[in-house]
């Protein structure tokens, strides 16, 4: 945190109240105090970070006053992941490695799902839950697989709760998750700008700026977003410790979360966990801008469609058939 600067009105609300005689000047000086921000708070009204009784309190205090991720400088980003790593160590005795890898140049991620290959084994779902530190208590899942009748293409008509031996004859399986729309309606609904589309096309959430209002969930036509009603509960030996600030770090309580194409993996050139886990090869992932990529091969040579294409959301998730 920056050192406290002396402010013109000495920054303390009680002094403002004493010295003002009318409502207008009161509000004016109050806004000056607000603009002074943490500097005003540090002058003595509220204990400052340096005066915090423990290291944990100090870190939490600094975390509380950090910027939106998109406004942070690289130094601030590095500082916040250092704090979060340290807090995980203090609070839960966890050794995590958190990253803030920036997007790769000339990359736009795209995904394709082969509905004639998927056999509904749901190994993608378990891999996703493990990789992304999803809450085991409420069985949160970013991916859903629907068992579909032939001829249907809307997962709303399918059975998303099947549990029997698969594949069933004369049924096909269709997976949904966040589609990372190029024209994402969820990002427009957010009142705190806590969710946005990164330059590589991944729609991300800054969990510390999310206020949990769930407007984005209502705005998403694909049911791609999940709200957590509590901090994810995970057996300690199953926690994925290689994390990303915008990805699979353990979210605080009351935040919106969703598939991030495993940002912690894909920005290092690895495949998302669901693709790596798929036993049938139904999932294709790659760089849409590269004419030689697998995803471009699918778009060029296969019959593809996207869900609710008429909405103009331009999802970067295609379904295809052999």
């Amino acid at each position: 945190m920056k050192p406290a600067k002396p402010s013109t009105n000495d920054g303390c609300p009680s002094n403002i109240m004493k010295s003002t005689s009318n409502r207008r000047s009161f509000i004016k000086s109050l806004s000056v105090a607000a603009a002074a921000g943490s500097a005003a708070l540090a002058t003595g009204c509220i204990p400052s970070a340096d005066a915090a009784p423990s290291e944990e309190m100090k870190l939490r205090w600094q975390e509380f006053f950090k910027d939106n991720y998109r406004l942070m400088t690289q130094e601030e980003k590095d500082a916040t992941i250092d704090r979060l790593e340290r807090l995980a160590k203090i609070q839960d005795n966890l050794d995590i490695q958190m990253g803030n890898n920036p997007p790769l140049e000339k990359v736009l991620y795209g995904y394709a799902f082969n509905i004639s290959r998927c056999e509904g084994f749901m190994e993608c779902v378990t891999a996703c839950v493990k990789e992304n530190n999803l809450d085991r208590k409420t069985n949160t899942q970013y991916i859903r697989i629907f068992e579909m009748e032939p001829g249907q293409l809307d997962p709303g008509t399918g059975d998303g709760r099947y549990y029997h031996k698969v594949p069933v004859d004369n049924r096909f399986y269709m997976g949904t998750q966040c589609f990372h729309c190029e024209n994402a309606p969820c990002t427009k609904a957010c009142p705190t700008k806590a969710t946005w589309k990164e330059p590589d096309g991944i729609v991300v959430v800054d969990y510390d700026w999310c206020i949990g209002c769930r407007y984005c969930q209502a705005a998403c036509p694909y049911y791609g977003r999940r709200f957590n009603w509590g901090k994810p509960q995970i057996p300690k030996d199953e926690i994925t410790t290689r994390q990303h600030y915008l990805g699979n770090r353990i979210r605080p309580k009351g935040k919106m979360e969703k598939c991030t194409f495993c940002i912690q993996r894909t920005r290092s050139g690895r495949l998302p966990a669901c693709v790596e886990a798929c036993p049938t090869g139904s999932r294709v992932f790659g760089n849409l801008l590269d004419p030689e990529s697998e995803i471009r091969f699918v778009l060029k040579h296969k019959k593809v469609f996207r869900m609710k294409e008429e909405l103009g959301t331009e999802p970067k998730f295609w379904y295809f058939i052999d």
Partner: protein, 179 residues
């Protein structure tokens, strides 16, 4: 909208090849791989080697023309193989794929010897559509990375060549209704 350039057109007009060197953190693949005897849209690619995954390779250690004792024969018989490959009642037999004389190799219908590491050449005789998609990237999948040198799974990495269809089984988990 109709007259404007759509998102799809923008993607399809992008012709700049991705430079794999810009993905600096790609994890090296630890499994043994071989250079495929095919070319994909990029050129050469690699495929997971197969031979070291076959428990009893080399086959010629038994299939050498020398007599096998009865006891040893019982141990090493291929009775565990469930041959369920081919349409309906016209199931394939061993020598439809395996070389009848040189047992360390496979044999295609033209009589060419095929290495176990390159069995896709054999499978592709019938499953030519799958082979074409596999080379391009719409069938099968890459190992671990989307960036870096392309390494793909071999046919027999996922499919049991003697019984290639995936077995029915319970899903790995279940889903609860959304809130």
């Amino acid at each position: 909208m109709a007259s404007e350039k759509s998102f799809i057109d923008e993607i399809k007009s992008s012709q700049e090849k991705f430079d794999n060197r810009s993905a600096t953190q790609v994890r090296p693949i630890t499994q043994k791989t071989v250079l495929a005897q095919e070319q994909d849209q990029r050129g050469a690619f690699r495929v997971l080697a197969r031979k070291q995954a076959i428990e009893r390779y080399k086959c010629s250690s038994c299939h050498s023309g020398a007599p096998v004792t009865a006891k040893k024969g019982k141990e090493l018989t291929h009775g565990d193989i469930n041959l369920d490959h081919g349409q309906g009642g016209q199931s394939l037999s061993c020598i439809d794929c395996h070389h009848p004389k040189e047992r360390d190799f496979l044999e295609d219908k033209k009589g060419n010897k095929i290495d176990f590491d390159h069995s896709y050449q054999l499978c592709g005789q019938c499953h030519f559509r799958q082979k074409r998609d596999w080379i391009g990237g719409a069938h099968g999948k890459r190992v671990s990375n989307w960036a870096g040198e392309r390494v793909v799974f071999n046919c027999a990495s996922c499919h049991d060549p003697h019984s290639p269809r995936f077995k029915k089984r319970f899903p790995a988990t279940y889903s609860v209704p959304l809130d």
